[in-house]
Every structure is written in C-alpha cells, then in structure tokens.
C-alpha cells in the first residue's frame, strides 16, 4: 500500500512540514534535563536581629518576595546551598542538623520534594517545577517566629 503524495508543490511542502514536525517534535519531549536548584533555610521574625549570631539577613530580592507573601518583618538565612540534580536522580540537601530536604527530578519537568525533620518525613510534594519558580515549605516556631525551606529553580 503506497501513501498518496500530492502532485502540487504546496501540497508536498505541507506534507514535508508535517513529517518534519512528527520527527523532530517527539524527541524534544523525551529529552530530560538536569535542574539547578537553590535551597535555603530561612527564619522569619518580627525582631530586628536574629537570636543566632551566625544568621545573616537574606538578600534583598528574596526578602522582598517573602514580604509580599508572609507577614514577618525580617528574614534571616541559616544555610544556603546551590546544587544540580541530574535526570531522574534524588539529591539530599542537609540544611541543618534537624532539617533535610530530598529533591527528586521526575518526568515531565516535575520534582518530588520531601522534607525530613528530626529523621522523620513530615511533608512530601510532587509538582511541576519550572525556571524562576519557588517552592516554600514553612511552619510556625516559638516566639512568633517561623522557619522556611525555600527552593528556587534556577
């Protein structure tokens, strides 16, 4: 059985375009990429200074964004890590002695983020993670403070 080719030039161009699209478009969806992620452990407080002397204020851009979403006045950074996660692998990032975050790169530009606190998994999220997007896992702490694990897709 032979495929009927159109006789006219525009018709042939049209079929060539369709064939090219089918051949070229499919592999592009299958090719996965490694993702670059910035992870931060941040404390939010209404105090002007953090109680821990090694805490540094977060950069202005991060602080501005956090202030748009949350109510705390100041944000201090405890740890800051930039890492790359290869295709279909899991990266474990230790942000403090009690807090670890595990990020797994999944199919379809998704990630699985698991937060482990004191050795126990406390939260697991699976979602698309595109460039420029943030995932923030947070919770209340004592003295009207809050902690944040901030993951930025670079």
């Amino acid at each position: 059985m032979s495929f009927p080719l159109p006789a006219s030039l525009p018709g042939r161009c049209f079929y060539a375009f369709l064939a090219g699209w089918v051949l070229l478009a499919r592999p592009s969806t299958a090719v996965a990429e490694e993702i670059k992620v910035e992870a931060m452990l941040v404390w939010g407080t209404n105090e002007d200074k953090s109680k821990k002397p090694d805490h540094q204020p977060v950069d202005a851009k991060t602080a501005k964004k956090l202030k748009k979403i949350f109510t705390w006045k100041n944000y201090f950074q405890e740890k800051h890590v930039v890492t790359t996660i290869a295709n279909r692998t899991t990266k474990k990032i230790e942000l403090s002695s009690e807090c670890t975050v595990e990020i797994r790169e999944l199919e379809g530009a998704q990630v699985e983020v698991q937060l482990v606190g004191k050795g126990e998994p406390v939260s697991k999220a699976t979602k698309p993670f595109t460039k420029g997007e943030w995932i923030v896992i947070g919770g209340d702490d004592r003295n009207e403070c809050a902690w944040f694990v901030i993951l930025k897709r670079l």
């Binding site: 049209f14 375009f17 969806t29 606190g117 697991k124 999220a125 698309p128 923030v136």
Partner: protein
C-alpha cells in the same frame, strides 16, 4: 364602491374568479347600478386596448439589429479572462494551501507552548500533590501565581479528644 369591489370586477372580467365567486358577484354587487356601470366601463376599456396594441418601433433595420447582437456574442467569446479570475485562480493554487500550512504551524506552536513550556503545569493538568506522611504534622498549600511561589505550610496536627463512652454507645446499633 371600494377598491376590493373594483379588483373583484377586474378579476371577474379576466376570468380569474372561481365559479362560485363569479356567481356570488353576479347575483350581488353587479346587480346594482354602480356595479353594472363599472363592469361596462372595464369591458369597453379591455376591448379598446385589445384591438390597438402599442406600437414597438425599432430604429434600426432588422438585419442591422441582429448583426449587432451577433457581433456582441463573438466579441464576448474572444475576450480574455478578467484579472479577478486570475487572482482567484492564484489563490486557489497557492495561497489556500499556504494558509492551511500557516494554520497548522500556528496550532503546532500553540501545542508546544501548552505542553512543553507551561508554567506550574496548569495547562497540561499537572497539579501539585502534597502529602503529610507524619502523624504529628499536617499541612495546607497555596500558590501565589503572581510571585510564582508555591507554599506548603506545616502545622501540628490537633489531637482529637477521645469520645465519651456514652456517646459512642448511642451511635452503636443495640
């Protein structure tokens, strides 16, 4: 005498009425003086016009008249196709397939936009799935689309008070 009566008499004279209508008219209004007079006037007018048809005068001779029509037919057959026909033909042969291809290109671009580069997976139905594996902690999540921030907020799961035995007993089937 009204307009309908006049029309009816005209129709009667032209033989356009049914037999019953004609009989009704003959026995009715035509028996009156006005009706009879109108019928006579109309009949006279019809006779006069029928005997003297209007004269159609042709300014040219018969041969010249028909030769002019013949020349018109010959020249119309020899005229080349008009330019708008050429444009239509060009459109049908080239622009119509090209516009189809352009439409397909547009759809392909839209599909690529939707399925490969959609932010937060909202376009292709990929939504966030959040679980709280801990018994002690629970969470809620929300997305600030303007800032492109997805927030999972953890909190201690409230411990449920143990129900009173009497209350449980009431719920049970005796």
């Amino acid at each position: 005498m009204n307009r309908d009566q006049v029309f009816k008499v005209q129709a009667y004279l032209d033989g356009e009425l049914t037999r019953s209508e004609a009989a009704k008219l003959e026995e009715g209004w035509l028996t009156t003086e006005a009706g009879n007079r109108l019928l006579e006037e109309l009949r006279w007018t019809k006779d006069v016009l029928g005997e003297n048809p209007p004269l159609q005068s042709v300014p040219e001779t018969r041969e010249f008249y028909w030769s002019r029509i013949e020349r018109g037919i010959i020249s119309a057959e020899a005229t080349p196709p008009r330019s708008n026909l050429l444009v239509m033909d060009f459109f049908r042969r080239w622009l119509a397939p090209a516009s189809g291809a352009a439409l397909v290109c547009l759809l392909v671009l839209l599909a690529i936009q939707l399925f490969e580069f959609s932010p937060a997976g909202t376009a292709n139905g990929q939504l966030a799935r959040v679980e709280s594996p801990s018994d002690a902690m629970d969470s809620f999540s929300f997305e600030n689309k303007a800032e492109k921030v997805f927030v999972i907020w953890l909190y201690e799961r409230p411990s449920e008070p143990k129900p009173e035995w009497n209350y449980v007993k009431d719920l049970m089937i005796q």
